[in-house]
Symmetry: C2
Subunit: 287 residues, 2 copies
C-alpha cells in the first residue's frame, strides 16, 4: 500500500521535500508475516518515501524462487532503482538464488540465527514454518481463545465467564471488541467483553453478570469527542451518538470504575496493540 508522504519528509540528497518511490518485497519460505511485520516497523521510521509493497510468501522451491527473482528484476528495471527485500528464509539455497537479483537484501533469520546458534550451542532446525505449525499447544490455545472472544463479545453470552482470563467493560464503541480480539489472537487470552449501558448507569452499579469476576475486570474508556465521532458513523444523528450522551456515559462509566476499584485504560490516543500490552502488564502485576 502506498502511503502519502508526510510533512517531515526530507530527501537528504536534494535537501528538498520530495516523495521517493521505492518497492519493498516481503519474501519468505513460510507465510512471510514476520518479514512483513518487521519490515513495516522499519519503514514507518522513514518519512517521505512512497513504498510499494509486494508479498512473496511460500517461496520454498527453485521454481517459485525463479518467479520471485524475475519479479525483483522487473521492478529493478521499472523503478530505475533497486528494490528492498526483507526476507525470512530458512533454506540457504533458495536464499542464494534470490540474491542474484540487484536489491538490498535484509534477511532477518540469517542475521540472528548464527549468533543464536553460537550462544545456545545447538544447531537450528532450518525447517520452514516451524513457528506457524498447527500442532503446538500454543496454537491450539490461540484458536480456542479466539473462539472464546467471539462467543463472549459484547455481553452476548454469560456462560463460561468463569473461564475468562480477562473481562473488559466500557461504554458501547469504546474499543472493547478489537481489544478483546487482539488479546485472544496475539496472546492467547480468553477475553470477554461486556458493555456498560444506560441501565447500568441508572442503577449505578456494574452488571450483575460480571460482579462475581471482579478480579478479572478491566475497564476501557475514550474521550467523549472521539466516541461521538465513532458513534456518528454507526448511527448518524441519533441520541446514542449525540456528544452530550457520549459525555454523560463516559463520565458515569469512569465514576463507576473508579468507585469499584477497576483499573482502566484510555483508548483515546493509544492503539489496541498498546492497550492490549498494558492490560497484560496489569494482569501480570496482579498474579
Amino acid at each position: 500500500m502506498n502511503t502519502p508522504p508526510k510533512k517531515s519528509a526530507l530527501h537528504a540528497q536534494s535537501g528538498k521535500m520530495k516523495p521517493i518511490n521505492r518497492t519493498i518485497f516481503f519474501v519468505s519460505d513460510g507465510t512471510g508475516i514476520t518479514a512483513e511485520i518487521l519490515g513495516k516497523g522499519l519503514l514507518s521510521q522513514f518519512d517521505g518515501i512512497n513504498f510499494r509493497q509486494i508479498r512473496f510468501p511460500f517461496v520454498d522451491d527453485p521454481e517459485k524462487a525463479a518467479d520471485c527473482l524475475s519479479r525483483i528484476r522487473e521492478i529493478r528495471e521499472q523503478d530505475g532503482i533497486r528494490p528492498l527485500v526483507v526476507m525470512t528464509m530458512m533454506n540457504p539455497e533458495i536464499s542464494a538464488m534470490l540474491r542474484q537479483g540487484d536489491a538490498l537484501f535484509l534477511d532477518l533469520f540469517e542475521v540472528f540465527i548464527a549468533p543464536l546458534e553460537k550462544e545456545l550451542g545447538v544447531r537450528s532446525a532450518h525447517t520452514v514454518g516451524r513457528s506457524h505449525g498447527q500442532a503446538g499447544h500454543e496454537y491450539i490455545n490461540r484458536i480456542a481463545a479466539m473462539n472464546f472472544a467471539i462467543a463472549h463479545d459484547d455481553g452476548v453470552s454469560d456462560a463460561d465467564l468463569k473461564n475468562a482470563d480477562v473481562i473488559l467493560v466500557g461504554v458501547s464503541r469504546c474499543g472493547k471488541t478489537p481489544t478483546s480480539l487482539y488479546l485472544s489472537m496475539q496472546f492467547g487470552l480468553r477475553a470477554a467483553n461486556y458493555p456498560l449501558i444506560p441501565e447500568d448507569f441508572e442503577r449505578d452499579r456494574l452488571p450483575d453478570t460480571v460482579l462475581p469476576f471482579r478480579d478479572k475486570l478491566f475497564g476501557l474508556t475514550i474521550a467523549p469527542e472521539q466516541l461521538h465521532k465513532i458513534r456518528q458513523e454507526r448511527r448518524p444523528d441519533s441520541k446514542y451518538a449525540a456528544l452530550d450522551t457520549c459525555r454523560q456515559e463516559v463520565a458515569a462509566a469512569e465514576r463507576m470504575m473508579r468507585r469499584e476499584g477497576i483499573e482502566w485504560f484510555d483508548m483515546t490516543s493509544r492503539s489496541i496493540e498498546e492497550i492490549a500490552v498494558q492490560i497484560i502488564q496489569a494482569i501480570n502485576k496482579k498474579e
Copy 2:
C-alpha cells in the same frame, strides 16, 4: 511461557538429549510485539531448549531501563548463564543503558536501520511506536475490518455483504471464524463467513444470501476425522459431532464447492496464518 523439550533435542556440547533452561527478554520502547513475533520465530528453530519468556514493553525512560537492567542482572544470577534479549529500541541512549547487562543482545532495529538509511538516503525518524500509531489510515481500516468480521461471523448478518472483501464458506467448525478474524486483523480485509449447513446440502445449492457474491467466495475444508474431534469438544457424542455426520458434510461441501467453481483451502494441516496468506494470494490473482 515454558514449552516442554521436544524429542529431537540434541545438546551439542554433551551429545545427549538434555533440556536447557534459558531466559529470553522481549524489550522495546514500544509494545514489543514485533520483538516478540520475530523472537518466537527464531526460538522455534531451536529444539530441546526450555525458554522462559519475559516481556518488557514501553521501556522509554531511564527509570524503566534501570528496572529492566536489574531484572536482566537478576536472571543472569539466577540462571547461571546470560539471558537473550531481543529488542526493538528506537532510542540509542536507553539501548546503551540496557547493554550494561551481561546478555546476548539482538537489536532488530539497530541491525537494519543503518543499511536502510544508507540505501534510502534519508535519516530515520527514530521515533517510538510509529508503526502502531492510532491516526493512520491503515489502523482505522483494520479496526473497521475487525468490526465487520465480528458483525458478519457465522452468517449472523446478511446486511452489507456487498462491502465484504471476502466471504468464507464451509461446514461448521472448519476454521472460518479464526481465519476471518485473522484476515481482518492482520491484513485489514473485511471478511465475512457463512456456514454450509445440512439444509444447504439437502437443497444441494449454496445459500441464497451469498450467491450474488460468487466472485468473493472462498471455501474452507478440513479432514472429517479432525472435524469430528473439534465438534466432540463442543457437543460430545451428538449427531452433530458424529464421525459419520462429519464425513457426509465435508463430502457434500466439497462436492458443492467443486461444482460451483469455488476455490477452497484445506485447514487440516495448515495454520490459519498460512490459509489467510493463501487466500490473499488467490484474491490478488483474481484482480
